[in-house]
């Protein structure tokens, strides 16, 4: 398994910025690792920290949340509220001995196709360095495929 293992990363992208940034990376033919599974969400502030824990429980090796830069939120302040929640989540994971780098955050605007590709590359490499997720997972029979 270790020879063929590739990190599986779930990315929650905000509809207004990061998802469009991913789109731009695509139409610009930028290369980035194919390890991310994208889930489009209305806003990074709409991402319940529970979603991230659930993704880790169900077999993701890493999770990324990406939203608009501060000040650019389509809903004015969703990303600012998200920033507080995720700072707390990261602290909590660290406190119980889970690798905080399994959950990552970024601001990517609709114009930053190159940054999106770079972020995915960096996140994939840092999760690859952590190796397959060992914590929090549900028994294998119950895993989503």
């Amino acid at each position: 398994m270790s020879q063929t293992w590739e990190p599986k990363i779930v990315a929650f992208l905000c509809h207004w910025c990061s998802y469009a940034g991913a789109d731009l990376a695509g139409i610009s033919r930028l290369q980035y690792p194919a390890n991310v599974r994208v889930i489009r969400v209305p806003c990074s502030g709409a991402v319940n920290p529970f979603y991230l824990l659930k993704a880790l429980q169900r077999g993701a090796d890493g999770v990324l949340v990406s939203g608009c830069h501060p000040g650019d939120c389509h809903y004015l302040a969703g990303n600012m509220v998200a920033r507080r929640k995720f700072a707390l989540l990261k602290k909590l994971l660290e406190h119980v001995g889970l690798e905080p780098d399994r959950v990552q955050f970024s601001w990517v605007s609709a114009a930053e196709g190159q940054k999106f590709a770079d972020v995915i590359r960096e996140v994939t490499e840092s999760v690859r360095a952590l190796g397959p997720a060992r914590h929090l997972q549900k028994a294998r029979r119950a895993l989503c495929r």
């Binding site: 824990l53 600012m80 995720f86 700072a87 707390l88 406190h95």
Partner: protein, 314 residues
């Protein structure tokens, strides 16, 4: 005058003159050294009230189950801090609750007492000043209350907010900073911290007594009880249990008033209050936010400052 006598007198007076319609307090339970919440509605019932180191439940939890317009709440610092959160979250109308402050000597830890009695439940017991007198196996033992206190009470912080309408006796002095209790886990390696978390989660029965006893866990429908979508599996699967505790801690971030009611309610002695403590410390250090102090504060995760630190964001 002992605080229980002063309390009975004050409660009877408040009820008789109609200032409040009910006084929410505790009365003696059926087991030794146990109490149970009592909504006293008559002067006679007020005569059954007690306030001492065996009052486990955080009374603020029961406020919203009362129908009365004017409620007297027997409040230790724990109740007072939770009441501040209730006011902040618009859970109770300002002016509905008259807080009767009672001094607190710290809560008796039943587990610590049982350990001192050779692992046996006390057949009889009473408090005598700052000592606990417990009888187990026919032998009476006298133990200083300070030696069998709840962990949460060792680092109690008093409410700075003046929510008390009356104060009986002298409030206890603050016993120090609870956050220092995190030093032990801070010094452990990540794997050791995880091992401890797994060990605690493995013992958890998922009975939700912690949630039921918590004054701030008041959602009409808890995420664990939802079946569509089923957020967490209903079984005692280890990963589901860990998700439950992590998410409960997230829901209490910046809200937990560290009363320890969850720890006292746990039937198997799981103490995961350090999760709440760690988030409380983060809220204080990162956002300068402390729950249970000022009813005018905006809730921690419902607000933001433009310059909140974001060093962890790419």
């Amino acid at each position: 005058m002992p605080v229980t006598d002063a309390l009975r007198e004050t409660a009877a007076q408040l009820l008789a003159e109609g200032t409040v319609q009910v006084v929410l307090g505790w009365e003696r339970g059926t087991l030794p050294l146990r109490t149970t919440p009592l909504p006293a509605r008559t002067v006679e019932e007020a005569g059954r009230l007690v306030a001492d180191a065996t009052c486990d439940n955080n009374l603020t939890l029961y406020l919203t189950r009362l129908k009365e317009e004017r409620v007297g709440l027997v409040a230790r610092p724990c109740e007072a801090r939770a009441l501040v959160e209730y006011l902040r979250e618009h859970r109770v109308t300002p002016g509905r609750v008259l807080a009767i402050g009672v001094p607190c000597t710290g809560m008796l830890s039943r587990r610590a007492l049982e350990a001192r009695l050779g692992g046996r439940l006390p057949e009889a017991g009473r408090l005598d000043g700052d000592q606990v007198v417990g009888t187990a196996g026919g032998a009476e033992e006298r133990i200083a209350l300070a030696e069998v206190l709840e962990p949460a009470c060792r680092g109690c912080r008093l409410p700075d907010a003046a929510v008390y309408a009356r104060v009986l006796g002298h409030p206890c002095p603050p016993a120090g900073d609870r956050h220092t209790l995190l030093q032990r886990s801070d010094n452990l390696a990540a794997d050791a911290r995880y091992a401890e978390f797994v060990e605690a989660a493995a013992r958890c029965l998922r009975c939700y007594a912690c949630r039921q006893a918590c004054p701030l866990c008041y959602c009409a429908e808890c995420f664990t009880d939802r079946s569509a979508p089923a957020w967490v599996g209903p079984s005692d699967d280890l990963s589901d249990t860990m998700l439950f505790h992590l998410t409960r801690a997230m829901h209490l971030a910046g809200r937990c008033v560290d009363c320890g009611a969850c720890v006292r309610a746990c039937p198997v002695g799981v103490d995961l209050s350090h999760l709440n403590l760690a988030l409380g410390r983060e809220a204080a250090q990162r956002f300068g936010y402390r729950p249970g102090l000022d009813p005018a504060d905006r809730p921690l995760v419902a607000t933001f400052r433009p310059d909140d630190p974001e060093e962890f964001i790419r």
